[in-house]
Every structure is written in C-alpha cells, then in structure tokens.
C-alpha cells in the first residue's frame, strides 16, 4: 500500500487504488444525495401545498383570459375599431356568434361575471342578450342585439369590451387600491362611496403595529418573571401562558365576547363598582377595542415564548456586575439587560406582526364595523362574491408589503440576530 502510493508519485490513493480525491468526491456526493433525499419530502410538500398555490393564486390577479377565450371573434373584430361611435356590423355579428357558442358551452356566464366586476348590471345585460340572441339566425345583428338589450347601443359598453380584450388586466389591482378605469380607459379614483380598501389596509397595518406593541408591553414583564423566578413558580407561570395557547382560537374569541359585551362580566363589574351607570355601559366589543383586546390576548404567547427563551440565556451575573460597578437598578436594567433581549423582542415582534396582519376569524367575530381587517374582505371575495381576481390582488399587495417590511427589518435589525429559542 505504501509502496503503491510511492510508485504513483504525488497521487494519494485509497486501499482499492482509486485516487483519494475521487473517492472523497464520491463519498461527498453520496452524502449530498442523502441530505437531498432527506429534505425532498419537505421540499415537495412545500412546493405543492405552498408555492404552487400561492403562485397560481397571484397570477389570477392579472388574469383576464376569459374574455379573449370566450369571445374570440368579438375581440378580433374590435381590434381595428377606433372607439368612435358604435363599432361596425362585423363586431355585432361576431358578438352574436360568440354569445351563441358561449351559451352552448355554458361559458357565457363567466363573461357576464367578469364584465359585472367592471360595470354593475352587465351580468344581466350579457345573460339576457345571450338568451334572446340564440333564436336569431340572420343579420343585421346590430339591430337584433340592440333589440335584445339597449345597452349595446351605448358606445361605452363596446369600449369596455375593447378595453378588456387583452388576456391580462390591471383592473383588479386598481380596484384593490380604490381606483378604476373610466369609460375611455384612463385611471381615476373610485367615487367616495365605493372607497374601502386603502383605508382597510392602513387600518390593518396600524392595528397590527399597535397589537405588537401591546404584546411587548404585556409580555416583557411576564417573560422576565418566568426567566428569573425559582423553577416551581416559573413553571406555574409557564402553564398559565401555555394553557390559553393550547385552547381553541374560537373558544378564546367567544370567551372575550362574554367578557366584554355590554351585559357582560366586565361591564357588570364596572357598573357594580360604580365607574359607569347602568344605562351608560361602554361598548367594549364589536368595535376596534374588541379586536385589539382579543387579538393581543391571543397573540401574547408568540411574544412571551421567544422573549423567555432569550432571557433564560442571560447570566444573572451580568446584572450583578453592573450593580457592583456602580449602576443603579434602573440603569443596569436599561443598559445591560434590555439590549441583550433585543433579539427576543425582534423575533416576537415579527411573529406577532405577521400573524396579526393576516388575522381573520377573531376580527370577524369581535370586530363589528370598525375592527375588521383587510383579510375579512379577502375572505368575502373568496367565499361570497367569488371575485378571486380581486381577492388575489388584495392578497398579493398584503404579501408584498409583509415581504418589504421583512427586508426593512433585516436591514435595520438583522434577521440573523433574531432568536426563536
């Protein structure tokens, strides 16, 4: 063996004669493959349950393929139209043909729904026209369509169709920031009485920030106590933190309703003590206060636990050293103890803030009108109005903001300084 190595000069070889370099590379490759195989299930799971659905959903926010798909002839006929007055007879004939085909394939309803998002009442126009035009076999189609529904004599209807001819649209994003296209395709603000989303976004952000602040305020002393008290007391405290954490979200939310409602426990107590008179009970739930109180309580463990795990690692001798060097209790706490807990505050804040910004069921139950968040509108458009394009646009805006804030946080605080335990 030693001779063989010497014979080959500078090349180191293993027992079976393969060069050591190749052998090591092979072993490394095997290890890498093993490592890959170990994470493969997780990767595939995340890909299919997380990444693909998110990408698919966000693509819907710009998707407008239904119009070119179901009305191909109309789109082609309108391509050369200059938008002045009514389009030529070919466009009317094309629309009639597309509508007949769409009625046959039962796709015309999708067009009706899509157009109705842009202009209320279009659903009825399209469905009614499709029903009536089915029995018309020859032109002139202009007359027949206008007879079926007088909206087709309005150039604005045709301009809308022309504007939506492209397979992509910015319409949902405009809608999500309270803007819209006017008849000529220029961007304008929605009328006052339809502006809701920008306010909701702003409210969602400031309430999430407020709730994060409150959890720091309430969670910090608890975590500190848990980290410094003798084990038997701190264990008890830990259980008090964890028990609600393990309790169902709905149960905790409903419990807060019982506590806060005007005939509820807290109000009864306040009236009994004499803070308020019986007929002037304050409204503590079904508004902002309800949402803030319930969400702060529900999210508190997400702040306490990272704080606790960081505080547990701070040796008490540091504080004693500071005291022995002449700092008073307060200075020692602020200048020695608190800076060491920053990583825990950072971790807790980002957890609580990101959870709060997407919170849905608690605000829906206790938020009333002033305490609901943007996620409730997203849920409405997913479940009720079926306007998935708008829901996707709202969701993408929310996601983009959270990612932007995360990068900002990384810049200022540094994610590597974050400590979850």
């Amino acid at each position: 063996m030693a001779e063989a190595t010497l014979d080959q000069g500078d090349l180191m070889r293993t027992a079976d004669g393969t060069p050591l370099k190749i052998s090591i590379a092979r072993a490394m490759r095997r290890n890498k493959l093993k490592a890959l195989a170990l994470i493969a299930p997780l990767f595939v799971f995340i890909l299919f349950s997380f990444l693909i659905p998110i990408i698919d959903m966000s693509l819907r926010s710009v998707d407008n393929s239904v119009i070119p798909d179901v009305l191909p002839n109309t789109v082609a006929a309108l391509a050369d139209w200059d938008g002045e007055g009514l389009p030529p007879e070919e466009a009317f004939a094309a629309l009639a043909a597309d509508m007949k085909a769409g009625r046959e394939s039962r796709d015309i309803g999708k067009v009706a729904t899509r157009l109705n998002y842009e202009l209320s009442g279009m659903r009825g126009t399209v469905m009614g026209t499709a029903r009536r035009i089915a029995s018309v076999d020859e032109g002139p189609y202009q007359e027949a369509l206008i007879k079926a529904n007088k909206d087709w004599s309005d150039p604005a209807t045709w301009k809308l169709l022309k504007r939506l001819s492209s397979p992509y649209t910015m319409g949902y994003y405009l809608n999500a920031v309270d803007m819209r296209f006017d008849v000529d395709g220029n961007i304008e603000a929605q009328p006052d009485f339809r502006q809701i989303y920008v306010d909701l976004f702003l409210r969602t952000f400031w309430m999430s920030i407020l709730i994060t602040g409150l959890t720091i305020l309430l969670g910090y002393p608890i975590a500190h106590l848990m980290a410094t008290l003798p084990l038997r007391y701190s264990n008890l405290l830990m259980i008090l933190v964890l028990l609600p954490f393990w309790t169902s979200l709905l149960v905790r939310t409903t419990a807060w309703i019982v506590m806060l409602q005007s005939e509820g426990v807290l109000n009864d107590l306040l009236v009994w003590v004499g803070v308020f008179s019986d007929d002037a009970r304050p409204q503590l739930v079904y508004n902002k206060i309800g949402t803030i109180v319930a969400m702060t309580h529900i999210l508190l463990p997400f702040m306490v636990l990272p704080l606790y795990s960081v505080m547990k690692t701070i040796p008490p001798s540091y504080m004693r050293a500071a005291r022995s060097l002449g700092a008073n209790q307060f200075t020692a706490f602020v200048r020695i103890y608190m800076p060491q807990t920053l990583s825990g505050i950072g971790a807790g804040s980002i957890l609580v803030f990101i959870l709060a910004i997407g919170y849905y069921i608690t605000p829906a139950l206790v938020g009333g009108t002033s305490g609901t968040l943007i996620s409730n509108q997203i849920a409405y458009h997913m479940q009720q109005s079926l306007n998935w394009g708008l829901a996707a646009a709202l969701g993408v805006i929310l996601l983009a903001t959270v990612i932007a804030l995360y990068f900002l946080y990384n810049r200022i605080v540094g994610v590597d300084k974050m400590k979850l335990g």
């Binding site: 829906a364 009333g368 109005s385």
Partner: protein
C-alpha cells in the same frame, strides 16, 4: 419494535384494500349542507329513510358555511367530490351561470305531486331556476325582546326604524341585501315596489339615508348564530335572523322574543348538483326522493322552514319533539306580509352595493 411496525403497516394496508373493495360495491355520495339543526332535520327526513330503503347507497353528510368557493375549486381542479350541495338560490344562479352546476329538467327528473301535478307547477311560483331544485322557503325577519318595551309593542318595519318610540340597540346582517329593502319599506315604499325603487340611483340613496337614521344603534352580525345570541343576552332589543333560528330560540329555549312578520324577506334554499361529479344517476335518484311531496312535508317536523311544494303544505304536521303545530310557524303562512327576494337583481348589483355598503359602514 421494528416487527410490530411492519405488521401494523401490513395490517393497515390490508384494511385499506378491504375498505376500497367494499366501497366499490356500495356507492358513497357526498351531500353537503349547512350543519347544525338544519342538517339534522335533513338527516331525519331524507337521508335516513333513503338509506334504509337503499342499502347500497351511503350518504355522507358534509358541513360547509355557504358560498361557492369549494365548488369552484373542485371544478377547476377537475376532481369533484361533492355530489350534492345545499345552496341558497342566489348562489345556485351564480354557479349555474359559471357552469359549476348541472342543468335540471324539473319535470323530467323530479317526482310528481300525489295528484299528478308536474313539478314545474307544484313548486311555488318563482322558485325554480335552471340548476336549482327548491327545498325550503325560509325567511329573514326581525324579532324583538318582549320584555323591552312597556305598553305598545312593535308591529311594523317602520317601528323597527323608530328609535324614539322603541329605543335600544338593533342587530342587522352586515350586508346590503335585505337591509336596503327594509329601509325603503320603513320609509313608506310598498313591498311590491321595492326593487323598482332600488333600481334607480335615487332609490339606493334613499335606502342608505334611512339606514343612516339607525346606524349608531346597530351591531352588525356576520354569523347566523349571532343575532339569536345577542337577543338572548339582552345586548339588543331588535335583531334580524333566519326564522328557523328564531323559532328555536323562542320555542325550544323559551327566550322572551317575538317575530315581526311584517316585511319578512322570503328566500329559497335547495339542492344543486355540481357538474362533473361521478355519481350523477345515483344523486338524481336521491334528489327525486328527497324533494317529493311527503319528504318536504316531513322536514317541517324538525325545523320551522316551509316546504317549497304546494302539495306539501297541507301535510305539515306537528313538531317531532315539541309536539306543537308547525303550520303557524311556517314563513309561507305570512307570505302576504313580506316579499320574495329578487335574486336576479341582486346578482347584478351585489358587488357594487357591497362596496358601497362597506364604505358607508366606515363613514
């Protein structure tokens, strides 16, 4: 330890194979409904008798909270696992337009009345639509606490909007639907003209202006169980709710509440069959059974919703557990005091009015 694991795995695999083998013989249908007392009434009136008579069919009851999101998702994924869905008529129309539901030939596919009347004549007028098989008529109406007011009790929609005569908080659904109609009725518009007035921009403004007068005293609900709870807790003195929920609060829980039938909005709930399902024939067979005259009348034994067939009305008997006569609790009995919601109008205007309503709430 390793061996135990291996045997367990083999055993499980065997069990799964057996389960598949069995299910190959018997058909399992996924029947989706709203849950709670409502699904319970369907199980007793439809599912259990049907499974007794057809031992090869198993009906799996699945709960959902309404809306078409799941149906659309299944349809887009090409894997339709819900065979039959209980929907409100507005969702049925919306889903029908989008091709999510199968079209129904009512006379062909459903049972005739005992006297031979075809289904298209037997179901209540105006309730049939292309993909929809009506089942019950329910209503959304106001209830009030009978201990809240001394002397005169509220009777009309105008009373509900009268804060001076009947002070106190109200709870309304957080949606424009029904509330705009009620505001107009309280403002003096006859029920039959409501949609004509609402179809003009001035009419909508008028409805919002009337809602403005009570806005400060309203708690808005989104979950159907909430209004009865708020009324029971004394949080509010008036509340809108589905008449079945109000019935159980009054008759089963003995709450001091009474229903104001004036201005009640009648709505229809029924079955729709998602297109692309694997068991079309079996589902149709079940639906034919579940919507025949006797079955619809039977359901009223368990819940106070009115049957959607004329021929079922005389057969409505007593409540199965409470023993009270159900006929006076059917919303259809007071149909002349209310009106049928105009689903086509709402299908056209819902998106815009919802945005306007939400914006109005925030003002």
């Amino acid at each position: 330890m390793k061996n135990t694991l291996r045997y367990t795995t083999v055993g499980l695999a065997g069990a799964v194979t057996m389960a598949f083998a069995f299910s190959a013989q018997a058909v399992e249908l996924g029947v989706v409904s709203w849950g709670g007392a409502y699904t319970a009434s369907q199980l007793k009136a439809y599912h259990q008798p049907y499974m007794k008579a057809n031992s090869d069919v198993t009906l799996n009851s699945i709960d959902y909270s309404g809306g078409l999101a799941e149906v659309r998702a299944q349809s887009e994924a090409g894997n339709v696992t819900w065979d039959l869905v209980d929907v409100v008529v507005s969702d049925a129309i919306r889903g029908c337009d989008e091709g999510l539901f199968m079209e129904i030939d009512h006379d062909e596919m459903l049972a005739k009345a005992p006297d031979g009347t075809p289904p298209s004549k037997d179901f209540l007028e105006g309730t049939l639509s292309d993909c929809f098989i009506p089942q019950i008529i329910y209503s959304t109406a106001f209830a009030y606490r009978t201990d809240a007011f001394k002397g005169e009790q509220p009777k009309t929609m105008a009373d509900v909007f009268n804060l001076e005569k009947f002070p106190g908080k109200r709870t309304l659904q957080r949606a424009p639907i029904n509330n705009l109609e009620w505001a107009l009725i309280a403002d003096g518009v006859p029920a039959k003209d409501v949609y004509e007035v609402l179809d003009t921009p001035e009419g909508v403004d008028r409805a919002f202006a009337k809602l403005d007068t009570i806005k400060d005293e309203v708690i808005w609900w989104t979950e159907g169980a909430v209004p009865a709870q708020l009324l029971a807790d004394g949080e509010v003195v008036f509340g809108t709710g589905y008449n079945g929920r109000l019935f159980s609060a009054i008759e089963e829980e003995k709450q001091p509440l009474a229903i104001i039938w004036d201005g009640q909005v009648l709505d229809i709930d029924g079955w729709a069959i998602p297109s692309g399902g694997k068991h079309k024939d079996e589902v149709l067979e079940f639906v034919k059974f579940a919507t025949d005259t006797q079955r619809l009348a039977d359901q009223a034994k368990y819940i106070s919703y009115g049957p959607a067939r004329n021929s079922s009305l005389p057969l409505v008997g007593k409540h199965a557990e409470l023993g009270i006569d159900m006929a006076p609790h059917m919303p259809t009995k007071y149909a002349d005091q209310g009106f049928l919601t105009d689903f086509q109008w709402w299908a056209d205007n819902r998106d815009e009015l919802n945005e306007r309503f939400e914006a109005w709430l925030q003002q």
